[in-house]
């Protein structure tokens, strides 16, 4: 019997990519995607279910569709795109309800993968150069996104302890770059002058968006319970990142930095506090545990930056890379249910 997968955040960047990737896998029987809004990418056989952001109907869906695998990608890491309160609802309350639904008696859930972030390690002066999975941060989290991911991981831990028969995998991704994803870092690198903090040049680590999706598929295929860092090899100074992008830098003052970064917010290029921390002290996470489990990266940190820069150049020449196809629910209904569509799996 094949896998029956539930994806949270189908309309988000990661949820959509992951659903597309899982659709190719013949070992996956059912893919159910939850989100508050409709996905806008082409999906073959994924069933979309509209929910509120804290999944109050989730336990019924899990039971009805006999879900055995939950991939929790609906965790907000980019704090610039919504109010803190919304982020809290999505991350903390959403996760809480998700796990409440997954741990009802008679639950069929056997595998859970959660997409967290290396922001849980924080960024402080006394940090080691490399964080490994069993290290914890040096200060209590101060930034909203870090606090909320911290609580999320608390729920993940509780769920794993209460449900020892379930493979719970927690993936912590470093900053993602790639041809398509938009993050505060990518927006900063698209500016004509890349902001940095005067007198600081910390080392950054990146992971390519393809490696993110591949790593999630990898843990799904291999059943790897536990915590894994996911990040490309190598650390590179921020000025080198800017040089790879072919940009000059502009220095923000080392004191009152977040006030000095305010004008960028009006340009829609906000540098959130957690990124300003990184621009001061940087962060490295040790990716060897996942490598030792057999995962092979396709990009190093610098390779991810290069892929991003190349896509940026292409976009600036030929225009946006958005597919001509626009998601339309009636077309998707046709693809899914019409007898005229010849399906590969049959």
């Amino acid at each position: 019997m094949g896998k029956r997968v539930l994806i949270t955040g189908l309309a988000t960047f990661w949820g959509g990519l992951l659903a597309q990737a899982l659709e190719k896998d013949p070992a996956v029987d059912v893919i159910v995607g939850l989100d508050t809004r409709e996905p806008d990418i082409a999906l073959e056989r994924t069933e979309y279910v509209r929910t509120d952001e804290n999944y109050s109907i989730l336990s019924r869906i899990v039971r009805a569709a006999r879900i055995d695998t939950i991939v929790h990608t609906f965790l907000v890491v980019d704090s610039t795109q919504m109010r803190p309160k919304t982020m809290h609802e999505i991350n903390v309350i959403g996760t809480m309800n998700l796990f409440a639904a997954a741990s009802t008696s008679g639950s069929t859930v056997r595998d859970v993968v959660v997409k967290s972030s290396s922001y849980v390690y924080g960024s402080a002066i006394e940090d080691p150069v490399w964080f490994s999975e069993d290290m914890s941060r040096n200060h209590p989290p101060r930034r909203g996104v870090e606090r909320s991911l911290d609580s999320v991981e608390g729920y993940v831990r509780d769920f794993a302890i209460d449900n020892p028969h379930v493979n719970v995998t927690l993936l912590r991704f470093s900053n993602v770059l790639g041809p398509d994803i938009v993050t505060p870092v990518s927006r900063a690198l698209e500016l004509p002058l890349v902001p940095k903090i005067l007198g600081y040049n910390p080392r950054f680590q990146f992971v390519h968006e393809d490696d993110v999706v591949r790593s999630i598929l990898f843990v799904l295929a291999n059943e790897l319970p536990g915590i894994y860092n996911v990040a490309g090899d190598g650390l590179l100074p921020w000025t080198e990142v800017a040089r790879l992008a072919g940009k000059r830098t502009i220095s923000l003052p080392p004191f009152g930095t977040s006030y000095a970064a305010q004008p960028l917010r009006m340009l829609g290029r906000e540098l959130p506090d957690e990124l300003l921390d990184l621009l001061r002290y940087g962060r490295g996470i040790d990716n060897r545990r996942l490598k030792n489990a057999g995962f092979r990266y396709r990009y190093t940190s610098a390779g991810a930056v290069k892929a991003f820069v190349e896509a940026l150049r292409l976009r600036s020449t030929v225009g946006s890379n958005e597919p001509t196809y626009r998601y339309a629910s009636d077309v998707e209904q046709f693809f899914r249910h019409s007898p005229s569509v010849v399906r590969d799996s049959e």
Binding site: P26, A42, R203, L217, E240, G284
Partner: protein
Amino acid sequence: MPIAHRSERPGTIAAMANGDAGDDRENPEPAATVVESPEILTTSDGDLIPDAGLTADQRHTALVPMPRQDASDLDDGELTDPRLSDVDEWGRSERMRAISRRVYEPLYKHWFRAEWEGLEKIPTEGGALLVSNHAAAIPSDAPVIMHGIETELRRPVYGLADHLFKSLPVVGVMWSRVGGVVAHPDNAYRLLREQKQLVLVFPEGSKGPAKHYNQRYRLRRFGRGGFVEIAMRAGVPVIPIAVVGAEESMPIVYKNNSIAKALGIPYFPITANQLVFGPVLGAVAYFPAKIKLRVLDPITFDVPPDQERYSKSRIMDESERIREKIQEALYDMLRDRRSVWFG
């Protein structure tokens, strides 16, 4: 679509028929391959059936105008790493280090006239933890030791120091580029055990440089013995180094604790240099004290590496033993010293 040549691999034909020739899927992952046998693709007379055997993704990639560039082949082993600088994971740059060595050489040779004894005791390969006494308001011993070993032995030295350095703008970056690393046990372990590097540490910490001139050459407490524990865990020898002369290069004549507290720094000194050279130049200019360095015999611990815990009493004993050895060597060197300036 015309097919340029017929390949044996059905996957290739399918991909090209789909206008996706850029991605020729030489080593498709199992999940992506649904095409199983060549029979599906060709009729009896060898013509291609255009849409047969296409996987779901191949069909809708046809809808996307710009094909995603596929990553370099997995079986290559080596990933391309398009770096532009030579800054390593610790922040050290050999290029910056070479520049700073060129700048520092005259100071090392003609100002401090550094003189080594027993340099051959430092191994030319393999990890080792160098441990030394620490002195002067702005310690002059660290650059002398690092410069000396790098020029004589031609191998890098990483200097562990308080994270205070990292928090200072400009200084923190420079410090890191020339080999400074935050003194975190995990950093030290990786450098020593995994990368087999030379690591320099001052177990006295800031208590060494912060001492008053009349306390010179009296070693402070060696922290809590953390350096011994790291050497044990990393399975590397500890090599003690006794330094004479640094104390007199920038002696502290007065300390103000309340200013230090207000600035958040370990000590706020008035140095003899400031009395002589004035408050500004004196804050950075050293006296030309003759610096002599003596490398003592390496100390190895007969304990297995990578243990979870080591006996605390053993650690403290070893730490105290190393401290005594350096202290004795200092007294011995001072007995022979005729002049602060000429050795």
